[in-house]
């Protein structure tokens, strides 16, 4: 069984959709604008914020009036994934949904939670409360895309994305469903703002080194069970997970590993690697963006060539390229999603 990626949609600091990401990979990005969580009086930090106004053209604004920024990003990315897959009539009703998040609807929840529990708001808004529940984005997606199969929300900080992909593949292999919409979402909040300022966190470590800003965004993929190899539809070849404390090491691939910069030492010299985090920023589930970038490279040979070593005859393109997307957590856990072009 192979899990083909039928389509991908995303929104981040670079814009919306696969075309926007491909364009961003081709050009040198602009320096990120300063951004600050509006409810914080702390100084602004460079951050790559996602704009979701495109969603208002896809869904009636009345339907969206109770949906917050966190869920809007996930909804937009999901819709764009359907467009990318030419599934204008929607997903099958029995499709599944897996949402990975590092911090959940934290920006919302932070506003509800006082520093002292005894000062909690006795007249809490039911809408704000509903949106603070960790599976709010999954609920909005399932309602608006009429997904009636299994739905799951995972919150394992940096490891949420590989766990989500593994779960989606498990469901396809079990025959629980034939199609899964799987993706990630994280939003800018006081927590990420504070991380960027303090530089104590993996989500912001690159930012503090003056390399990558913090970011936010969402990336969704339509995985389908298929026995047919196809060049048009890259597939998820494997999800690896391990921990450095037990000397687990990611496999060496024939093409490339996408990651954030601080992993260069971890990977060692046997891996060719590239980093696009400067396009979408650093945040716990940015690995979803890496998977989208890998997909862009596999779809467009010219983009892939730009990232590979050049020889006299041109870039060294392997016959069946495989790209790994690596995320390493502060605890030593790591995950790698391997995407390939040929399912044979």
């Amino acid at each position: 069984m192979k899990a083909h990626i039928r389509g991908a949609g995303l929104v981040g600091g670079f814009g919306s959709g696969m075309a926007a990401l491909e364009a961003a990979i081709r050009r040198q990005p602009e320096p990120p604008p300063a951004a600050s969580d509006l409810s914080s009086r702390a100084p602004a930090v460079p951050a790559l914020a996602a704009q979701t106004c495109l969603l208002d053209r896809l869904i009636p604004p009345r339907t969206l009036r109770r949906v917050d920024h966190y869920a809007r990003m996930a909804l937009l990315a999901s819709h764009l994934a359907l467009e990318d897959a030419d599934m204008g009539s929607g997903l099958p009703e029995t499709a599944g949904l897996v949402v990975a998040t590092g911090m959940g609807p934290t920006a919302n929840t932070l506003d509800l939670q006082p520093a002292d529990a005894t000062e909690a708001d006795l007249a809490l808004s039911p809408i704000l409360f509903s949106n603070s529940v960790h599976n709010a984005a999954a609920a909005d997606i399932s309602m608006m895309l009429k997904i009636r199969g299994p739905c799951l929300s995972i919150n394992q900080y940096e490891m949420s994305v590989p766990l989500a992909f593994q779960t989606a593949i498990d469901w396809l292999e079990e025959g629980r469903t034939e199609t899964v919409l799987v993706g990630s979402v994280d939003c800018f909040s006081k927590a990420l703002h504070e991380a960027a300022q303090s530089g104590r966190d993996s989500a912001s470590a690159d930012s503090i080194q003056g390399v990558d800003p913090v970011g936010e965004g969402s990336a969704f993929f339509i995985l389908a069970r298929s026995e047919t190899p196809g060049a048009r539809c890259p597939y998820v070849q494997h999800v690896h997970m391990g921990t450095t404390s037990r000397s687990d090491a990611p496999p060496v691939l024939n093409t490339l590993v996408l990651h954030n910069r601080r992993n260069a030492d971890f990977l060692g010299r046997s891996h060719l690697h590239a980093c696009f985090a400067h396009l979408y920023g650093a945040f716990p589930t940015s690995m979803g963006m890496d998977v989208a970038a890998a997909l862009a490279l596999l779809r467009t040979e010219q983009l892939l060539s730009m990232c590979l070593p050049q020889s006299e005859g041109g870039p060294m393109l392997p016959e069946n390229p495989r790209i790994g997307c690596l995320k390493r957590g502060e605890t030593g856990d790591w995950g790698m999603i391997v995407v390939g072009r040929d399912g044979r």
């Binding site: 959940g104 932070l110 002292d116 909690a120 006795l122 529940v133 960790h134 900080y157 006081k190 502060e330």
Partner: protein
Amino acid sequence: MNRQPPVAITGMGCICAAGRNLPDCMQALFTRPPAPAPPRSLPAAQHPVFEVPDRFLPPPGSRHPPMVRAVRLAVAAAEESLADADWTPAALRRKRVGVVIGTNVASGVSNRALQRELAGIDASGLSPAERFRTVNPAQWLARHFDLSGPHMTVVNACSAGSDAIGLAGTWIRSGRCDAVLAGGADALYEVTYYGFIALLNSDTEACKPFDARRNGLNLGEGAAMMVLESEAVRRGRGRRARAFLSGYGTASDAYHLTAPHPEGNGLRVAVRDALAAAGASPADVAFINAHGTGTRENDRVESLFFHEVFPGVPFGSTKGGTGHTLGAAGAIEAAFTIASLEHRKMPATAGFEAPDPELPAHPAEGPAAIRGTTALSQTLAFGGNNSVLVFSAGPDL
């Protein structure tokens, strides 16, 4: 949904307002369930809850940062379940053991340290990742017991505990793990407390599942854990299975953020898939542990569903003795379901006295004797999630 091999459950643990361990909980449910009271942690609050007495909890530990309440509950249940399964820490370290935990508060309470820091109350010195680790039960349990397999926290609101157990079954069947520690944990939390009041879903008195006078839920807190093992490992150890996870089904209503589908559409699919995975039919089901929150709508949907799909099959709710423990509920009630199979009787539905004439099916009067070896535990959740577990009694029964 394809039929799937059953997965052995070799150990269980539970802590909630009904008791500090699973035998105590069952004893309380069968004889004298506890009554709810206003929360001690929220002085101005009046809606009653089922709080776990502090004396039941393990100490917070000397590590920095210390365990939060939900993690302390998880650790207590995990220690009981591992002891019940006769796993020593050294033996666990030699196996690939995963952790899957459902919770609702997860990242929520991790924000308290940041809020306090921003408000100038104290300086925790924690990064967001460190704050996350202080409240993430799967991370804590993996580190606490030095487990080498994958670990995952499921945040599927009230069905999270059921989903965690169902997913653990997949991890075993796929060969990814030799054993999995799976369950749910949740602590009382002011945002959910006032949130349910805001949604008009919280009773001002003790909850009354399926009762004509039902007027909402009481929140609770607790944790339950199970040890699931591959057959190769279980047989190698010569361990008896307490029960088998035979089926897991889950489906979404795609209907409303906080209300169940009025016809129970997602629930029907989840039950159908769970039974198909178990190779069972409704006629095989000896009893059902209902979600039974005590809210008008949830209990109406479940009663209609039972009447149509499971006519005559006894069902009941244990939330009148534990409160609604949110992300832990599915796991706690799964443990009660298995323990009920072992006892060959199910607890009475605490709080149920006056049958609702508008409901077609009513909970069993209890404690009721169970005839059969297969039982269902089902949970309905915010976001429209419906998750159902099918358990079969161990071979010794």
